[in-house]
Symmetry: D2
Subunit: 326 residues, 4 copies
């Protein structure tokens, strides 16, 4: 393998996102096709620091495209946030002859790549793998579509049972700092109210709207709450609404369910495209970039920009919430 | 319709259960086939008390077999727990010429039927429709299989993300008084621990087992908690385990998600069989019975026995939990 | 309603596409919000010709966002291809005071709209609703994402059973003139070969590749066939491959399964956005346009261009097929 | 391991059935718990003949309970039908010190076990793993419930699109000799006609019923065809009906899709129970038996009886087809 054009390490890092395996598969197979020497580390930056690595071949990534989670495992790595940890990682990369590092993850993962750049002179490429969809430079992140569909299934099921009950149903979805999942699942599920961090939440106005909806004959009232909304989680919001309008409430907290599951077609195609493009990016000798897909076109965006520019929710969808939930 | 052999009212009552629509459809179509005059009331016993009724034809129940929820709507009816409410219901039934009442629901619904028997001399038939599976006289209740599969999907998704994290994942499922859903979903999901009301819960033993599992190299630890377990809900159990062994935990509370969704094949077949058999039971002039399916055979069990005899979880499955979650 | 700013008729036409109901709901509710008088016709252009129409309110479109098929029903209408039929339709529209027509469908539906323009002076708006994704002016058509996920589920299931058998598995998916579904489902499913109308199919090369894959130890070989591929359907291709390399083969023909089912989140959001935007387009007084979504932005494209410009499959994905299926 | 009470080989054989992995996992973990020395062979009887075996531990069967297919792989093995092949298998078993063989499969697999009994004096246990459900001695076979749900999803999707079309939709499901899948999926899907090998098929009567249904206003007509029906497959039946009543038809052939997919909760619980019980059966020194579940109770049935007694479809369900599809 000494004549390979690059020796490349692949990691998955941060929270799991469905489609990470498809990205690993595509990066490895495209890398092999391009004559790169492909390796994987386990548990994200932990595996780099600990030199917990293995060579990856076309066979290694067989039959994983449809599987949730990540065969390389993922983890958050506090040690990597310290200079000492990054020095250690850089030493491992250099000692093992790596000239490229492909990291699949979210903003924390990319901040790690950016920081590593000061310690190591190999090529770094970020692949956007996070259910949160909060990265600039790509229409969607890997895992977002699956997470939204998972939340949507829950909303649909609750809708079946919500009719005719004098109750408010609250569904808490992921999103500490961003409302992408809440907004998408809520619009798709026809939710009456969607609480997201990006917009101010007026509990009293929601209470009045619920009461008005009942007067109009609405048979169900479903409220989607992004976990990071300033009004609190679903239990908090339910309690406040009960105090305001006296309605009983029921809560569903989806939690990590949204990080797992067989990835959707869109997530697999996105992951496949970006994984392959990441390997090509290494071959092109380009570094410090996130690969993304914008309106079907492959794009490279500086990691600093992908992390630093705030992606905003679609204001048209926000406007539709009130208009369509009549 | 004056020459119909019976005028029969169908209601769905209590908590929603997937498959209720399939039971309504089968009762109506078999009833029509047998020459009965079929009607439906809305919102369970409310609709009886309020005479909120409509005739049901073969067309009325078209294209509903696959739908979650119930087209007749369901509700709990406190008024029916009072003698006055039941008197009013009996008067409505008599005034409208009904000679049969088919009620699809759980133990509360059946207790209502039993109580009504003292006020009205028509024929009463219960159809077991509840996700809880806690009725004697039938292997399974309508809705149980779907609810278990819904809980199982959540467990599978969490399993994808649970690997390699130093975390405990807790999934809270339905079951205030019975652990059928928790046990079935937990066994099917390969959960490490299953907390049900029927068995004593020893949090300290669970903490020790989790620690031991980690030592053995187990990469995930999933705990299923029936909402009615004496140790509390999933958040309570998570907190206690964290105090004991210092592990971080993540919670999923499924809630009413388990009551909705497209019914499974098994639930539809069960509902279809029992709905049809309920109409035949009216024609046979039999009253005060619950229809059930035992090992593929249609059975009638006195409502008092269906409600009064405690159905127990399978001790073999309980024994398997510890053996199989190695 | 005489003071409504427009009286608008909504139809769904051509082959069913999951998400049509979400588009109808959004068009109606946004229309009501904008002060338009909203109506629906049944069975596409049939309902226009026959004046089979009904007013649509916010309540009419309750609880349909999640349902497959279309509550307005759809049909192909040969009569509308004749001048006489379109004259009749125009007369019905005029006599009933309609000033706008929103048609949800594919290229046949839009060709109808274009032709109607010579007979009627109302405003026409097309909403791209077809599983085929073969319309220019929008990144995706409503129904495509769901259809691809449906095909993908079938491929995943077959993959489970394909291991270790000395067999070729062929899956035939929709696409008479376009390979979008085949390409997307095949890439997402990790298919070994994908036969689409847009590219020449060399059966002998495929046979050699299958044999070579076996030699390399591949345990399964899945071939996706778009129904319109020039090599024939899945049975034809299977027969030819058997003749060439002597392998047994198994076929799955999905057919109309791909047109049904609960719409995916992406299809519902797309349908919701475009349905609402169609109503706004009427209010804006714009005619002869298809509404579409390009990289998240709402766009209007002349119907003639949407139908007349050939949308091409992504050549990068086509190139990936051979590279990734190692 | 020489002090293990038994050295046991596990195989999966015949057509794949969802849940086979859950059965392997339970057999292995219960076996380990009981002090047995557990091994697996690959590709069914092929792996026995070729001594292609590996030890199985608790870790070997981690994280497979939810996976379709079988980690041991399965195959049909013509060599095992010859005395020579069975002699070879018996020699391998003896030479390797095996005293028990657990075979998960259908009637062909069990016939193999019965035949092996004349060549080898170890203990044989059969576990019913086949989507066909055609084995006596168990209410259901492992894989049947999942296969039915898979077929049902296809029927539901077609139902969405079947409304208002002057078309007949035919769905071909598995069942060469038995109509269990067709009957269950057809009843659950509300199919208008269900063609199974067990009952005579009168195409002309079906044609008349379809015409009569249209006259009554039925908006869709779905026909389920078991692949082994004497009238032929779905394409044949569609052609005949078209000739008779002039209707256009559309066909879905599900094929091996029905053998794959994540197993349902019921299949996993059944497989878990029977896998564990198979290991206990070895410890009990019982041989030549199939383990089964009858109304929740674990049962042993002589393999000869499980294979030799014809299991019949539920005549009540057969009777319901015509009554309920009005």
């Amino acid at each position: 393998m000494s004549d390979a054009r690059h020796k490349v390490l692949v990691i998955t890092s941060g929270g799991d996102a469905p489609g990470m395996n498809a990205a690993v598969r595509a990066a490895v197979r495209m890398g092999v096709h391009l004559g790169l020497d492909m390796w994987g580390a386990h548990r994200g930056y932990h595996g780099v620091i600990d030199a917990d690595i293995e060579p990856l071949t076309n066979r290694s990534v067989s039959n994983i495209i449809q599987r949730g989670g990540t065969v390389l495992h993922t983890a958050r790595c506090p040690a990597f946030r310290e200079k000492e940890g990054r020095d250690r990682a850089a030493a491992v990369l250099t000692e093992n002859g790596f000239t490229g590092l492909i990291a699949i993850g979210g903003d924390g993962t990319f901040s790690g790549l950016i920081a590593l750049d000061h310690h190591w002179d190999g090529l770094t490429v970020g692949v956007p793998g996070t259910v949160d969809n909060d990265l600039s430079g790509t229409d969607f992140t890997i895992g977002f579509d699956t997470a939204v569909n998972t939340a949507l299934e829950a909303i649909d099921r609750i809708r079946d049972t919500a009719a005719s009950h004098d109750r408010i149903f609250l569904v808490e979805v992921m999103g500490r700092h961003a409302g992408f999942i809440a907004l998408a699942a809520g619009i798709a599920g026809g939710a009456e109210h969607i609480l997201i961090p990006e917009t101010p939440t007026d509990i009293e106005a929601i209470g009045r709207a619920i009461t008005a909806g009942r007067t109009r004959g609405k048979t169900s009232q479903i409220v989607i709450v992004a976990e990071g909304d300033e009004a609190g989680g679903a239990f908090d919001v339910g309690e406040k609404l009960q105090d305001l309008i006296g309605s009983d409430y029921r809560v569903c907290v989806l939690g990590h369910v949204q990080r797992g599951g067989t990835p959707s077609a869109a997530d697999r195609i996105l992951a496949t495209t970006l994984g392959a493009f990441a390997a090509e990016t290494i071959l092109d000798g380009v570094s410090g970039q996130m690969v993304g897909l914008v309106s079907g076109d492959r794009r490279r965006t500086p990691l600093t920009q992908a992390v630093g520019t705030r992606k905003t929710v679609d204001p048209y969808l926000v406007r539709l919430i009130g208009i369509l939930s009549q």
